[in-house]
C-alpha cells in the first residue's frame, strides 16, 4: 500500500510516459543512491550516536535515582542514629543521675558513720582524760594528806617535845585526814 504512490511516480517516470516524475527529476538510480546514503547515516547514528548516548543517559538516570535512594537511606539512617543517640544520651543521663544520687547517699552515709565514730572516739578520749585527771587528783590528794599528816606529826612532836608513838601518829594522821576531807 505504501508503494502505491511510488508506483504511480515510477510509471510516470517511464520514458514513454514522460510527465511529472521526469520533470521533477525522479530517477531510480538517483533515488536508490539517496536512500542508501540516508540508510548509512541512519545506521551509523543508531549504532554510534543514539545507542551509546541513550545508554549513558539511562545509566546517568539510574545513578541519579540510585544516589537519591542512597540519600534517602542515609537520611533515614541518620535520623535513626540521631534517635538512638538521643536515647543513649537520655539513658546515660538517667544512669548518671542515679549514680550521682547513689554516690551522694553513700557519701552521706559514710560521713555520718565517720562523724559518729569521731564523736564516739572523742567521747572516749574525753572520758579517759577525765578518768586520768580524777585518778591523778586522788593520788595527789592522798599524797597531800600523807605529807600533811607527817607535817602535823612533826609539828606536834616538835611543839609538844614528846616523841609520838606509832599509835599517836596514826591517830593524828586520821584526824588530819578527816579534817582535810572536810
Amino acid at each position: 500500500m505504501t508503494a502505491f504512490p511510488f508506483l504511480i511516480l515510477a510509471k510516470a517516470s517511464e520514458p514513454a510516459g514522460g510527465g511529472i516524475a521526469e520533470s521533477l527529476g525522479l530517477h531510480w538510480a538517483k533515488f536508490l543512491a539517496q536512500v542508501l546514503l540516508f540508510l548509512i547515516v541512519y545506521l551509523i547514528l543508531k549504532k554510534f550516536a543514539f545507542g551509546p548516548i541513550m545508554a549513558i543517559l539511562e545509566d546517568r538516570k539510574n545513578r541519579i535515582a540510585e544516589g537519591e535512594e542512597n540519600l534517602k537511606k542515609i537520611a533515614a539512617d541518620m535520623e535513626a542514629a540521631e534517635a538512638k543517640q538521643a536515647e543513649i544520651v537520655g539513658e546515660a543521663n538517667t544512669r548518671a543521675d542515679k549514680m550521682i544520687a547513689e554516690a551522694r547517699e553513700s557519701a552521706e552515709a559514710l560521713a555520718e558513720k565517720k562523724r559518729a565514730e569521731a564523736t564516739n572516739e572523742a567521747a572516749g578520749i574525753v572520758a579517759k582524760a577525765r578518768e586520768a585527771g580524777e585518778l591523778e587528783k586522788n593520788q595527789m590528794l592522798s599524797e597531800l594528806k600523807r605529807d600533811f599528816g607527817r607535817l602535823v606529826v612533826d609539828t606536834t612532836s616538835k611543839v609538844t617535845g614528846k616523841v609520838l608513838t606509832g599509835e599517836d601518829q596514826d591517830k593524828i594522821n586520821q584526824e588530819t585526814a578527816a579534817q582535810l576531807s572536810l
Binding site: P5, L24, F31, V35, L45, P52
Partner: protein
Amino acid sequence: MTANGFGPMNVLGAVSITAEPFLPFVQWLTNSVLVAGIVVLLMVWATRKATRKISPVPVGFQNFFELVIEFLYGQVEGIVGKKVAPRAFPLLATIFLFVVISNWFGLMPGVGTIGFGQLSGPLTLDTAPDEHGHAPHFVPLLRPATADLNMTIGIAAIFMLTWAWLTYREIGVIGFIKHTFAPKGGVRGFVGSILVPIFLFVGVIELISIAFRPVSLSLRLFGNVFAGETLLHAMGGILDGLHPVISFLGSILLPLPFFFLEILVGVLQATVFALLCAVYIQISTTHDEEHDH
C-alpha cells in the same frame, strides 16, 4: 525591467528543478547526491567526535550531542509514548538531524552558485542571463540534498516502511484493519450497525490518505527547500545587468533577510517532517482501548 536585461523573472528559472549529474555516464552521481554524501560524512565525523571518548561526566561536544538527543527523545516520547519511543526514536531523530543539516547546508556560500557553466567552463559562478534574456545552462557543483525529490521521497519511503513495521509489531494486521475500519467511540448495537458503512468508507479514505502520506511529506519538504533556493537565487540576481558595483551590493544585501528566513524554514521543515512522522506512528500504534479513554 526584463527589457533592460535584469529583473527577478530572468533568474527564477536559473535553478533547475532536478538534481543534475556531473558525468554523463554516471547518472546517479548528482550534485545533490554529492551534498548528501558530504552531510553524511559531516554527521559521521560529529558522531565520532562526540562519542569516541564517551564518559559519564560529559565534556565538550558530547555535552552538546547529549543535549540534542535528550531533547529530541523527550519530544518523540511525548508524541509516540514510552513504549514505542525506543524503536521509533532513531529514525525520527535521524530524519530531523539529516533534514535540518541538509537544509542549512544549502545556505553555505557557493552551494548552488559555483559549478559548471555552459559558456564559462568548470568551477565558475552562476552567470546572468544573456542578451536574449535566456539563462545559460549551468550545473551547480553542490545542491541541497533536500532540494532533490529523490532524497525526500527516499526518506519518506524509509519512514513508511518503518511505520508499517512498527504498526504491525504493535497492533498486528487484524488490529490495523480494526483500527482503520471498525466503528470508534464504543458505538454498538443498532446504532453501531448503522454506522458500519460510514466507518468502512472512512477507512477507505484513511487508506488513501496513508498511501499519499509519503507523497505529501516528500513534496512539502522538496517544495519548500527548492522554493528557498530559487528565492535566494532570484534575490541575489535581481540587480544583475546594472552597474557592477550596484549588482555586487544587491547580490549581497538583497538575499540577506531571506537567508534568515531560510534558516528558520530549514529547521521548521525538518520539524514538520519529523513531527508528522511521529504523529503518524502514534496514530497507528495506539491501541483502540487506549484511544477510547
